[in-house]
Symmetry: C2
Subunit: 406 residues, 2 copies
């Protein structure tokens, strides 16, 4: 065997230290508990999908990692090409179609897994990262109240974690598309893609893009940007939209749906959601409500939790399973908080009690000394007391390492 050179990290493929991994596990346990409390069943799909399946949505093709077996003959057609999944929604839609006969609808599932994207790595943006998703799909039609449920469940999960305040920004594709249509913009989808770049390139350049790629006039581009500027924590956003004077049936439908989501959220979790009409989402499978989430103090790193409603993703022949879901970027959230020194853990080992047979200690809070009688020592206070192994238990607050904001 050849000796190894000292290995170095691979950009975009983060690895946590053991204490950071303990923090991640506590986060995942809490997220999972909230998801299960709301009746979401656990699901895990394989890491790979057929490549043609992953490429159904043109925009993401550049991000896909393709697999090949090292010993596979070049150009061999014996196996269909496989790629690593880049999100958990496309695999979930495929799973629902494949297993529709065995599932009970509406089907609520959560899924916590790694995904891979070949994007240029940046702070909080990785090539391998973990997402925690919830989705609800139903057969044929999906009642709109699920679109209000998504941010409420995620809000509950996030409020159980020692992290800065989050704000979920909600929009509805129908509002944008109906408005663009009512306005007479030539290519509404291109307009949406241009608006999606607002945070990155600013309104002036988005205005140019709208003219160049979406067939908009200068006046139309200005009107599109006016819509994107509207934001409100309550239903007042709808009045602001109507004041722009554009009318279209799809716009009305989208406004009604968005008012419902914002008002339901305001009733159950005041301050959690805002209507923000610039939110577009890059993935083209969304057909209604869309979500993004800002973490206070980390807004410039982008959304930590995104999703939306998709009516046509899980469709095969005459089977149709509309769905809505939201995806928490666990690695991005942790990466940003670790990077900012914002999380601490009460000890660096999971163990609570060490039975003293040798000198290994490593921050374990209690040491048990077998004897006649046995005794147990709190290494932090130095207190040592006789104890009966049949009845003694550590204080509840020491049983597991505790994560706190720091």
């Amino acid at each position: 065997m050849t000796k190894m050179n000292k290995p170095r990290p691979i950009s975009g493929f983060p690895e946590w230290t053991p204490p950071q991994r303990m923090i991640e596990q506590r986060f995942l346990d809490k997220i999972k508990d909230v998801f299960e409390l709301y009746g979401y069943a656990p699901l895990e799909t394989r890491a790979v999908e057929p490549l043609d399946q992953l490429l159904r949505k043109g925009e993401t093709s550049k991000e896909v990692y393709v697999l090949r077996r090292l010993q596979e003959e070049a150009g061999s057609a014996s196996e269909d090409a496989l790629g690593l999944h880049f999100d958990l929604t496309v695999p979930f839609a495929r799973y629902v179609l494949e297993n529709s006969g065995k599932l009970q609808f509406p089907f609520r599932r959560y899924q916590i897994q790694k995904v891979w994207r070949g994007e240029r790595p940046q702070e909080g943006r990785y090539r391998e990262f973990r997402q925690a998703d919830i989705d609800v799909v139903d057969r044929d039609t999906l009642p709109p109240h699920y679109e209000a449920e998504m941010p409420l469940v995620i809000g509950d999960a996030l409020s159980a974690l020692p992290i800065p305040k989050v704000t979920i920004q909600v929009n509805n594709r129908k509002v944008c598309e109906g408005y663009y249509r009512g306005l007479g913009v030539g290519d509404p989808e291109a307009a949406l893609r241009a608006v999606d770049k607002l945070d990155k390139i600013g309104p002036a350049r988005v205005g140019e893009l709208l003219v160049q790629t979406a067939g908009a006039t200068e006046a139309q581009a200005k009107a599109v940007l006016a819509l994107a500027e509207i934001s409100a924590p309550d239903a007042s956003f709808a009045d602001a939209v109507r004041a722009l004077g554009v009318s279209d049936p799809l716009l009305d439908e989208g406004l009604a749906e968005l008012v419902d989501v914002v008002e339901t959220a305001a009733a159950y979790a005041p301050g959690l959601c805002v209507a923000d009409l610039k939110i577009a989402r890059g993935l083209d499978y969304y057909t209604g409500t869309v979500y993004e989430t800002q973490l206070a103090g980390f807004e410039r790193f982008g959304s930590i939790c995104s999703g939306g409603r998709y009516d046509n993703l899980a469709t095969s022949g005459n089977e149709r399973f509309p769905g809505v879901g939201i995806s928490l970027g666990v690695s991005r959230l942790l990466g940003l908080l670790f990077g900012g020194g914002r999380l601490a853990i009460s000890r660096e080992v999971p163990t609570c009690v060490l039975v003293a047979l040798d000198a290994e200690r490593r921050g374990i809070p209690f040491v048990w000394f077998p004897g006649e009688p046995d005794s147990v020592k709190d290494i932090r206070s130095g207190d040592q007391v006789d104890a009966d192994p049949a009845t003694w238990t550590p204080p509840a607050e020491d049983l597991y390492p505790a994560v706190s904001a720091s």
Copy 2:
């Protein structure tokens, strides 16, 4: 967006149903609890390693999946080639070298992750599967008592699960290599690889292989097979080896180590371990004790839990971290038990109490009716009683779905 044809499973990439995934989660929770109780810290490494790193051990090159970004130029040398890891030991050794300055030694970690191998799929043998590993590494030298600890920890974890009896088969590479050397076999490593095929091809063909590939005479081949036949639940195996009349210092060293492991295991977990001198392990990084594990009734599907001691895997320049570890094949274990209809779960949703706002029920055992006063109904017995939401809790045995053998 194009519509999807009804998708079909991909051979070798298993996916569980939601109830099966709930069983897997219960298994993982219990395994994790036992690992943490013994002081193993959690670790997760990225799914990819540099390809040259994965190919350091020649024998496994055929199993590696290589990655490429779809938009990467063919033949581009701008990025080092990456492959998916095929086990968790090689990434762990790399992690230890990379982070040796930040770790406390002896370093005990557990790691529960998916791995990928491009092998031909069979029942219980997958291309994507989950392993649960524990390892201990130390700087420069590693005391031999850790070689007895591995099967004891795994035995504790497995005894917490509703599965058939397991038997851990233990051997020591030094016994085999010393014996082959004492015997005068030309190529001891080739001999070990031939013996590793015993269960697959039987003694007659292994005998031929020994002559053809390891430079053994007929008499030497017979003596090699005689060693492989020895098996005992206690130290008596050492007398049987000595009765074969071969002597070599490495053989003596290996026998002493193996006696220690078997006697320690017999003292703490009678019936768990046997010395079985045919166990060789395919991976060539093992240098001492090796383990395989049989699941009663499923022996023909191969080991469900394997590992061993490796003195040279984590070595760079003049840094050296000998280690020992064992890896539980979670997917293989579950796949075999699911396939045999051997596991059941008490309900098919994680939720314990449904608050009755709509008719969705799906096997949730309790339904809560808000009212004046509130009441709660056990849907299994039909009993409905008034209850105070501030104090009522479900019976402990209903709080989580319970897994049982079936």
